[in-house]
């Protein structure tokens, strides 16, 4: 077992090298670099991707060579690509992710400043989905084929088909003071007077702000997880050992909740490793609607602005989390299913 884990950990190193190398090459091949971004700003004004540019006129027409040279130096682009990758790699070994070109701050500071938003929604929606979906899935399996099952399935699929950002707009218009009910705030993580509140007041304020975005964050995974739980349980119920248990006169409740459920949970539980990436969950559209400054917006903007160091930092951290997550998933398999052994 120990050697297995060690082997897996060692394999991660070339895998990570591969991922970062490919990313580095791709972002360098894509048209536009931080330098070109700046040149565009000089030529067209800052708001380029709105399809409108300003023909400013208090400056000369073309950007001079000296300015381009200065920019290259500013961003470290005076060296060839492979040298830059090597420098990046050497720095990453020291856990130095470099500086963000846009924010002019260390990449790690930028990422950690956005992390709390994503973390909160990631963790809470993970816990909530598991709590609700497992229970709902079990009830649906028990009541398979009844009116409750059909109606709940119908509702689940209706929700599934609504894009999160559409729901967000609808919820805000109807429940956040858009002329109907004024029950919830329109966005942001907390109120303006948050720091003056008592601890209890702070908690209430956070929850109050949390509800609408959380619903939108969860809506996608909700249906999938519930149906997975239900189907997995139904599969188990059909198996021989359950038939044996029933034949022996074990009560139906015990059959479902004790014998079948344990095995039915395997595919759900083993998915848990993947959820390590909830630390990085982010949604561009939801974040812009609810005015949350999280990972989704950061990733999107750093790609648009060709903020290479942030892109590389995000990819690196996400890859590490994914690889570790996979390992945890596999270990969880061993833990819950004695038939599996990775010797």
């Amino acid at each position: 077992m120990f050697t297995y884990i060690l082997k897996r950990l060692l394999i991660m190193i070339p895998t990570l090298l591969g991922i970062t190398l490919v990313t580095f090459v791709i972002i360098n091949l894509a048209p536009g670099s931080p330098i070109e971004q700046r040149i565009q700003q000089m030529k067209f004004g800052g708001m380029g991707n709105e399809g409108r540019s300003s023909g400013d006129n208090s400056k000369s027409s073309a950007v001079s060579e000296e300015v381009i040279e200065a920019l290259k130096k500013q961003y470290g682009f005076d060296k060839p690509v492979h040298i830059r990758y090597w420098i990046w790699l050497k720095n990453i070994a020291k856990l130095d992710f470099g500086e963000s070109f846009t924010y002019e701050e260390p990449v790690l500071d930028v990422i950690t400043s956005k992390l709390p938003v994503s973390l909160q929604f990631g963790v809470v929606s993970l816990i909530m989905s598991y709590l609700v979906c497992v229970v709902l899935g079990v009830i649906k399996a028990v009541k398979h084929g009844t009116a409750f099952d059909y109606v709940s399935s119908f509702l689940l699929f209706v929700f599934y088909s609504i894009p999160g950002f559409m729901l967000a707009i609808l919820l805000i218009v109807y429940f956040a003071g858009g002329g109907f009910y004024n029950w919830f705030p329109m966005g942001e993580l907390y109120s303006d007077n948050y720091y003056d509140l008592t601890l209890w007041g702070k908690i209430v304020d956070r929850v109050h702000h949390f509800i609408l975005p959380l619903i939108c964050y969860m809506i996608g995974s909700f249906t999938v997880l519930t149906m997975l739980m239900k189907n997995s349980l139904l599969d188990e119920i059909k198996k021989d050992y359950i038939r044996t248990a029933r034949a022996k006169g074990v009560p139906e409740k015990v059959v479902f909740l004790k014998h079948a459920l344990r095995n039915a949970l395997i595919p759900i539980v083993t998915g848990i490793g993947g959820f390590i990436s909830v630390f990085f969950v982010g949604s561009l559209l939801l974040e812009s609607i609810f005015q949350l400054d999280g990972m989704g917006l950061l990733s999107y903007k750093s790609i648009l602005q060709r903020d290479y160091n942030v892109i590389m930092g995000l990819i690196f951290i996400q890859s590490v989390l994914m690889l570790v997550g996979n390992l945890i998933s596999d270990l969880a398999y061993i833990a819950v299913d004695p038939r599996i052994d990775f010797k």
Partner: protein, 542 residues
């Protein structure tokens, strides 16, 4: 040309009396809440480059002089007076006494000199490469007396004084050679001399500014009724539906509107009662959208063909159906309400018959029966079929109308939406047949060099359609040296006429109005000033 430079003489230097434009009775106090749109990435006054940062900076930092929103004359700010040398090559500014930075340190001439030197620093210590092109024509800034600085320029150019007078002054004691730790603080804080001070910058939530009780302008009679708020709170709402809901709720007090929002999204029960939407017109420059032809492409070499394309573009219908009648068909290479636009130039009408006539005269004919016109150019058969590059998916609806009308005449138009960075690359490499883009307003005083001079074709300059007319080049070069506006207007109107007649672009639309909304908490003297909305003069009415 030199005579013109000399002719400018001291005209600007004697205009030292400021005209009060605010309401002297405006009450002071209260909180003004606005939407900034996004959090600035950094507030650093030297290295920041986004529009959000400059909006915040404009309330905290100050320049040497400022413009009157009604007359557009220069008025004193950090400099109390100024002179321009006879040859127009040096400008001297005398600093106001007793101005203090928000941290209590006095403003000095060294700050002014440093602000310029930092931008032009050859080692780019302060990450200011993006500002350098604006200041390249200023050779040096020298201290000539304890309260006097002198700007010396290189080549004479009408805009030199604007650049010097507009220089944002930064505190040398904070910005000069900061340590890594200090640099971090400079990204999140901002120390200026202006009417507002930065109180809070929470990237995830808001920016709060508070009134500067020691602002020099408080004791200036001509500045009564300006900067009347105790607090300004800026939110970061990106979604347009949400920002409109926010002003309905009173979460923000002011919001700039798009024509579509003005026409369709601001009609709920609160509009006209607690929130007012305003359609107004001032002389702030507006931009225009266009379809530009790659003029080196054999298809577009003839002006007749290009004219025919304009006749196929039904701008009237688009303005009616898609732009809520808030726009005019553009007539030439500048916002037509500008002083520099020649009012005698008329917009070319939509007329497919005339288009076909012009194309036939130009030799285009469907010789192979594929319903697309063709013509022999340099021994090669060329089909009248081209692709328009488009950076914005939203704009495609306009081009689709054009596409359909063109097809009926035998012109095959394709539209390709391209991501912005790729789009720019294709422009820089001149790899396109036609392109749809828009120019923003730029400065009120028009200098067409960046876009229309043949020198701007090289080095990935902004003349990507490769327009080259020696007559226009000559007029542009001459106009840059003329300091007298009326004379410059005369020359540039000729440029406007010539370019319009050459049809290098299909000039699309000019917006007629500016739109915004404000809550009934806000009091204002008038809806607009000649050159700005003038929110600096607003106050809290209730």
């Amino acid at each position: 040309m030199k005579k013109c430079v000399i002719a400018l003489s001291l005209a600007l230097g004697v205009m030292n009396t400021a005209f009060a434009v605010g309401n002297a009775k405006a009450p002071f106090g209260g909180e003004f809440k606005i939407n900034l749109g996004q959090a600035p990435t950094t507030l650093n006054a030297l290295s920041s480059s986004d529009a959000y940062a400059s909006e915040v900076q404009s309330m905290i930092m100050e320049g040497l002089l400022t413009r009157n929103p009604d007359t557009r004359e220069w008025e004193p700010a950090l400099a109390k007076s100024w002179t321009i040398s006879k040859d127009g090559k040096t400008f001297e500014f005398t600093l106001r006494d007793g101005v203090k930075w928000h941290d209590g340190k006095p403003l000095t001439v060294e700050d002014v000199k440093f602000s310029f030197d930092a931008i032009m620093d050859p080692k780019d210590t302060y990450k200011t490469a993006h500002l350098k092109p604006y200041y390249e024509n200023i050779k040096s800034v020298e201290i000539v007396a304890p309260n006097k600085v002198k700007f010396t320029v290189g080549t004479p150019y009408f805009n030199n004084f604007t650049v010097a007078a507009g220089l944002t002054v930064v505190p040398m004691h904070l910005y000069k050679n900061p340590s890594k730790e200090q640099e971090k603080i400079l990204n999140k804080t901002l120390v200026g001399t202006g009417p507002y001070m930065l109180k809070e910058f929470d990237r995830a939530k808001r920016i709060v500014l508070t009134s500067n009780p020691n602002w020099w302008g408080r004791s200036e009679p001509s500045l009564k009724g300006i900067h009347n708020f105790q607090t300004i709170t800026m939110r970061f709402i990106q979604d347009s539906t949400i920002s409109i809901r926010s002003i309905e709720n009173g979460d923000i007090d002011y919001l700039a509107l798009q024509p579509e929002e003005y026409a369709q999204k601001t009609n709920g029960p609160k509009w006209g009662k607690s929130v007012h939407k305003i359609k107004t017109q001032n002389k702030q420059v507006s931009g225009y959208a266009f379809v530009g032809f790659n003029l080196t492409n054999p298809m577009f070499k003839s002006v007749k063909t290009r004219e025919a394309m304009v006749h196929l573009f039904d701008r009237k219908k688009m303005i009616e159906k898609l732009l809520f009648n808030f726009s005019l068909p553009a007539t030439g290479p500048l916002y037509q309400q500008s002083d520099y636009a020649d009012p005698t130039v008329k917009a070319l009408e939509f007329d497919p018959k005339l288009a076909l006539k012009k194309l036939t005269e130009d030799g285009w004919k469907d010789t192979d029966g594929d319903r697309i016109l063709d013509k022999m150019i340099d021994g090669k058969k060329v089909k009248l079929s081209f692709t328009i590059l488009e950076p914005l998916p939203d704009f495609v609806k306009f081009l689709t109308t054009f596409q359909e009308d063109a097809k009926k005449v035998g012109v095959d138009v394709q539209v390709k939406v391209v991501e912005w960075n790729a789009f720019i690359k294709l422009l820089d490499e001149r790899k396109f047949e036609a392109v749809r883009l828009a120019w923003g307003g730029g400065d009120l005083d028009w200098d067409p060099k960046q876009i229309w001079h043949s020198e701007s074709i090289a080095n990935a300059g902004s003349n990507f359609v490769q327009y080259n007319n020696p007559k226009v080049d000559k007029l542009i070069d001459e106009s840059r040296l003329i300091m007298d506006k009326a004379t410059r207007v005369k020359k540039l109107r000729e440029v406007y006429r010539t370019i319009a007649a050459d049809v290098p672009y299909i000039f699309l639309f000019n917006g007629k109005f500016k739109f915004y909304a404000r809550t009934d908490r806000i009091g204002s003297e008038k809806d607009t000033y000649t050159y700005s909305i003038g929110s600096d003069y607003w106050w809290i009415a209730k």
